[in-house]
Point group: C2
Chain length 264, copies 2
């Protein structure tokens, strides 16, 4: 049994206390973090090693973005893709070496895409779509048991957002993003593990904006974080769960952590 977690932490240095808390309470074998917002030498490597997460693959940069995969199971850094080719740190891939031998875990932070869902007036939106297209071409060639997790910054289903109609023109839930993500999905036949367990049309959110004074008030959430398995691996997926209560922890991230167990 191997358990994997993913969490957009929105600054790992500032939120080390809640990362430690999560690791102590849930003890996943592997934790994939996005938006670590630090350079590799600034990553709290020792603190996480002290909790047993001695195997670490960190792809950081100054101030923004950045991903890290930390593990109690030996792993080997496998790849770092720069699908935008602009030097941003948005991906790290690892291969498990001990239990779960041979499984590949791709940790990705898809660009948010700015405010305006129109690439002619908002370059960031175009970059987001391009990022997904390049990821799609890459997925075509995936030939090993692979789990891709992270903040995709897209909520594909109606039940992935608190108000489908109202969000159709809001970046993260526009038809073009949903279609582009669907093409990525089809390119490899990924299984959306979250939605295997909490099935459409049940409510499933992983993110609530900081901007609302009370995130719970109208439950205006979106499912931006995902765990998708390649067809072979998907068959071995077991339990899947969330820690929604983490949105209420001290100095919370705006995202919550997701977990999946694999029978490996």
């Amino acid at each position: 049994m191997v358990s994997i977690a993913t969490w957009n932490i929105n600054s790992v240095r500032l939120r080390l206390p809640i990362v430690e808390r999560l690791l102590q309470e849930e003890a996943p074998d592997v934790l994939c973090l996005q938006e670590i917002k630090c350079q590799e030498h600034q990553f709290p490597a020792q603190a996480l090693a002290d909790l047993g997460y001695v195997h670490q693959a960190i792809h950081g940069q100054k101030g923004y973005h950045g991903v890290a995969t930390v593990s109690r199971i030996p792993l080997k850094e496998f790849s770092r893709h720069d699908w935008q080719d602009n030097g941003e740190a948005r991906h790290v891939g690892v291969e498990l070496l001990g239990p779960g031998q041979g499984m590949v875990i791709e940790n990705v932070y898809v660009p948010a895409g700015g405010d305006e869902p129109d690439r002619t007036i908002n370059a960031k939106f175009g970059q987001k779509l391009d990022f997904l297209e390049r990821m799609t071409r890459w997925a075509d060639a995936v030939d090993r048991p692979t789990l891709i997790v992270g903040d995709f910054n897209i909520a594909p289903l109606e039940s992935d957002v608190w108000n489908h109609k109202q969000l159709l023109k809001v970046v993260s839930h526009t038809p073009i993003e949903v279609d582009t993500l669907q093409r990525f999905k089809d390119a490899h036949g990924w299984t959306d593990i979250g939605r295997e367990h909490i099935r459409d049309p049940d409510r499933y959110y992983s993110w609530w904006s900081y901007r609302a004074k009370d995130w719970k008030a109208n439950d205006r959430g979106r499912r931006l974080d995902h765990m998708w398995a390649s067809p072979d691996l998907a068959k071995q997926a077991g339990r899947h769960w969330l820690r929604e209560d983490a949105r209420d922890w001290d100095k919370p991230s705006d995202h919550i952590p997701l977990f999946t167990e694999f029978n490996l």
Copy 2:
């Protein structure tokens, strides 16, 4: 008996907890704060009123400088001088109305003066000297029992600094500053209350730089904060003390608070 305190707080919003602590532990009748670093509407008026300091005279500005006098004794705002005539908030004067009736308390934050002690290459140094000269002209006309307190940004005596020789060329202890401050003193015959109680050449510091990793290590302090009384009022000065331990409180200011009691 009326007790007065002065403290350069270096952001009153960030350090509200230690301001509250001081008021609870020492309960001065009046507290004069410098470097509140906020506008008047941002001042934590309610929190201090809740502790009984309902009478407040605030002269603030955005981001920098700013002074405030809060009191358990009724007071009337008396004056706001802009001795530099540049709009900076560096002074507020009040008159006590209840106990201590008629006493005037001038709360002042003298410009730091930059790094280079030469007005030809450092305009800030010239502004500091000019500020003091204008304050001197003003002092000439003081005709009521007055206490002037605050961060003068000058350590006049050899025993006011940890190393006289080494600081002779460091802004805050240069001869020209000391001379200029002396002329201010002479203009009204102010009594340096602090030095009436902790007499030269005894060590007396009120400020230790943040830049030293351990402020206590070599005790590299300076006496930048002062409480000076007009001749009539000086006769009624009683106890005078410091809270040097405040330099060790949680998230401390680099200055410590000073206290004087008056038999009024």
